[in-house]
């Protein structure tokens, strides 16, 4: 379970997160929507400790992400993350991309890391691309590669930061399908997304962020059908 309490984040004098309280249960799929600049990406970075925070706490299964005593590299193994930009390691084949972290971070034997990588690549539908270098893959394939790479660490949570925003429209579907698959398998997911269809169909809850504040959170039906916040309604009217 992820427990966020009173989270405040500043970049210099700019307050980007203004006191966020949020719990994400095991097995839940939470979509985070909101205008650009509202702090959605920053929230994810604060959850896996890629950004330090100024106030509040983030607990992952009871471990304080930002405590000095926390082994953050260990904790991050629980928290897979997929970024807007897919960030494939260009010098490694698809298989090596996925096998690298299990090998060096988890200390798996080479053959075992290979097996894990192969399994995860098949999982995301790249079983026929094992020995292909990333620059011979499409954006959608590279993003699925990024998902496989994160899954190879056997995370308990997956954080998606606009995983489809940088893709050509015709490639969005294959990545969303992979995310749907993970959701069906019971993965706990926090998905920052602009894909309202995905948010509505797949999420258990949807959170709307507005200028660093979580303005509203609730089941998709409520957010998309009967939003309480004026801001939410305005935002949804604009994206649709």
């Amino acid at each position: 379970m992820i427990e966020i309490r009173g989270l405040e984040k500043y970049f210099g004098a700019l307050q980007v997160l203004k006191g966020i309280d949020l719990d994400v249960e095991k097995g839940e799929v939470l979509s985070v929507i909101g205008a650009s600049g509202s702090g959605k990406s920053t929230l994810l970075y604060c959850i896996n400790g890629l950004e330090p925070i100024q106030k509040g706490t983030v607990l992952v299964d009871g471990t304080d992400v930002h405590a000095k005593t926390t082994d953050i590299n260990k904790l991050r193994q629980k928290l897979g993350m997929v970024f807007q930009q897919w960030n494939s390691f260009p010098h490694l084949t698809a298989l090596e991309n996925v096998a690298l972290a299990p090998k060096i971070v988890k200390g798996k034997a080479k053959s075992e890391a290979r097996d894990i990588a192969e399994k995860q690549l098949r999982h995301v539908g790249l079983g026929d691309k094992l020995n292909v270098y990333p620059n011979n893959l499409s954006g959608g394939q590279q993003q699925r590669l990024a998902i496989a790479r994160a899954l190879a660490m056997e995370p308990e949570y997956m954080l998606f930061d606009e995983a489809t925003s940088a893709l050509d429209p015709e490639l969005v579907g294959e990545v969303l399908d992979t995310m749907r698959l993970l959701a069906e398998e019971g993965m706990t997911m926090i998905c920052v997304t602009h894909e309202m269809g995905f948010a509505r169909d797949v999420s258990d809850r949807v959170a709307y962020f507005h200028q660093g504040v979580m303005d509203e959170i609730g089941p998709p039906d409520q957010i998309f059908g009967d939003a309480k916040s004026e801001n939410t309604r305005k935002f949804l009217a604009n994206v649709r």
Binding site: L50, N73, M81, F83, H91, A101, M153
Partner: protein, 220 residues
């Protein structure tokens, strides 16, 4: 008849051997300086990248000095003044020290550029997989950044090899010094400098060819 003989007079196969040996010394002093200088330069480049203020205030100006003062002046100064501070080095030792520092000053900038070539999102992706700072450095930044600045590094290495000719002013008998000795004796500057040039070419050509091949393989 007389003239054709005199054309080659003085230059014997032995002299070719002498030049060959000197070329090996050029190769040796260059290889040593380039290897140590590259390791040092990577460390300096990392400090420039990470150390921010402290490194920019202290290290950067020092490296600037070594980059901008002509190598020949550095060599002569070091060779003549090192004994005063108790460092009694022969021409070879002095040459290695100065060439190494010079290489490291050049490589520092290349290395910093290499680290900068790996953008933040890539590094965050690596860290998000649980990699430590040094694992990210070793398995992501080094191969990606290294390939990005490899051509620049090859340029530095080939340049240092040519510049190693300047160690001749200290009396170390590398390729250029050997040529000078032979020219004085044979009075055949054209022939001997052509041969010396061919040796320099023979030393650098395989390196640039191999580098080009590597770059091509990486580019696939």
């Amino acid at each position: 008849m007389q003239e054709t003989i005199s054309f080659f007079s003085g230059f014997t196969p032995n002299d070719l051997w002498f030049l060959g040996e000197a070329a090996l010394r050029t190769l040796w002093i260059s290889a040593l300086s380039i290897s140590i200088g590259t390791v040092l330069g990577c460390a300096f480049g990392w400090m420039l990248y990470e150390g921010k203020l402290a490194a920019t205030l202290t290290l950067a100006p020092v490296l600037d000095v070594f980059r901008s003062v002509p190598l020949i002046i550095q060599l002569v100064l070091f060779y003549n003044f090192a004994p005063i501070v108790g460092l009694d080095l022969d021409p070879f030792g002095s040459g290695v020290v100065i060439l190494t520092i010079y290489t490291s000053a050049l490589v520092a900038n290349v290395a910093r550029g290499g680290i900068e070539a790996v953008e933040r999102p890539m590094r965050r992706a690596a860290r998000s997989l649980g990699m430590s700072y040094w694992q990210d450095m070793r398995y992501v930044v080094l191969p990606i950044g290294g390939r990005a600045v490899f051509p620049a590094w090859v340029g530095v290495a080939l340049g240092v090899m040519k510049d190693s000719a300047l160690v001749s002013v200290l009396g170390y008998v590398e390729l250029l010094k050997a040529s000078q000795i032979l020219i004085t004796r044979t009075q055949e500057p054209f022939l001997i400098l052509t041969i010396a040039g061919a040796f320099y070419f023979a030393l650098s050509f395989p390196i640039s060819r191999y580098a080009a091949k590597l770059e091509k393989r990486w580019a696939q």
